[in-house]
Symmetry: C2
Subunit: 316 residues, 2 copies
Amino acid sequence: MRDQDGFITAFAPASIGNVAVGFDMLGLAISGAGDRVSARRSDADGVHISAVYGIDGKPHPELSGDARQNTASVAAAALWEQYGDGGLELQVRKGVPLQSGMGSSAASAVAGVVAANALLEQPLETAALMEFALAGESLASGGMHADNVAPSLLGGLVLCPPALMPDVIKLDVPTGICSVLLHPELSVNTAESRRGLANNISYEQWLTQQGYLAGFIAACRMNDHALLKRCLHDVIIEPQRAASVSCFAAVRDASLAAGALGCSLSGSGPSIFALCEEAAAAPIAAAMEAACRASEIDCQLWISPMTANGAHVESA
Amino acid sequence: MRDQDGFITAFAPASIGNVAVGFDMLGLAISGAGDRVSARRSDADGVHISAVYGIDGKPHPELSGDARQNTASVAAAALWEQYGDGGLELQVRKGVPLQSGMGSSAASAVAGVVAANALLEQPLETAALMEFALAGESLASGGMHADNVAPSLLGGLVLCPPALMPDVIKLDVPTGICSVLLHPELSVNTAESRRGLANNISYEQWLTQQGYLAGFIAACRMNDHALLKRCLHDVIIEPQRAASVSCFAAVRDASLAAGALGCSLSGSGPSIFALCEEAAAAPIAAAMEAACRASEIDCQLWISPMTANGAHVESA
């Protein structure tokens, strides 16, 4: 698995946080976009970063190589300080846009800890890496939210209610359902976005949203696409955040008109996701892209099965 | 199926509303307690009640025979007016205590509609009876709440979020788990109990409770008893209602000390339920009964598998 320089490389996918129905407790892995972290033992003390590259292979214009300031190295160090010995050198290749609502910081944290784990004489099981990845993620989010870390580590659709942490639950997914994820060239700051939320909700909002989440989980289990469509709504968070993403309404309307089962913000945005039946994914993606570009905003898209893989070590 | 007087009799079980985690959207059928409604065609116009008996076989001391005031006849009439012809005579035998939090009005409504349905030339399928049973239940609850009607009709554990009505979802249940239901000789008025609830909740309350409901559904599906125990809590409604049931804290503490996975009010109380592993059900029931009687309150108990049957026509 090591390359010619002795590096082991781990890939961790981007992810859709909240998935409309499960604010702060549901996440879905995607395929095609993710971060890579390469790790090798070093003679230096502790964990350090020797390079941070962007998706173009050039040094990343925004991220520093300070190991205390990157979720990849903070997560890797949390594991390494407990189980490793000697020094650890990391190189980070960011494939996930920053502040995109695509779980960028989580993907780095997960890739960092998976790469470091692969260097241990007795690597831990994947599920046991969660707490270290979360330690990295907390640098970015300021709290213990697993709705990006858990799907990035485990793949698929993961339930991770704060009240049940550190337990997370990999859910059944329906067959033949894809996500379409659109990243518009806008940025939203997650921490600021959280501060803007209301403090209270009504019983009606609570019961409506909780019913949709419970129904969504049941629909996924029963492979009931019609029920999934009825449930795929966010009546509490999306209305508060949608206005901060100027193209949201146009992209959502286009996705629904093209047959999407539902469409909402990914995490705190600006990325927008839709779920849809497999055969409709390409035309729905095209409709969403057209609507975004009609708003004069550049964008990238990814289509993924709901069964997308979690993090893994890549062959050299 | 008809007895010597031409009656067909349907049984509909009592049920546990809310099941701690799912206020207004989750219900669990029990076995051993329920209402019976006997129906036969008559020469009179419309639907009428010729007798209402208590569990002792004597005329019921509180319920009148006015067909407009009994959920059994209102539900049966909703069906009969659409699909039946001629007159319909009903006899009601109440086995579920009134205002007990055990779905008494729902059991009557369901038994009424199932009995009337059995007299149709082309009876409807069970699931199609839901709307008529709900029409009966709305007489008692003043709204469309299915958390007792749905389990009484379908059996087992049923998810019925108001936002998804009239869809209801029969959930997977874990194996080897029982409910223990204790009815203390106290009464609580459901409508009054609802009016006493707060209007708003915090985000933290919402996310905690929603996480428990989602985790509970997953735990039932995965047959994970430890996770079920972690999730079986009501952090919003129970704290507001518990004080109205004087023996609640003592009964709950006794059930948990005896090994119950969780314990809360059934519906708006005063009945109290616990979920537990099968082998522990008898000692837990004994501990709950002892705690209730130590509070100088008389009580009845039922132990049921989570797979308890729904309503059905009885052989004569």
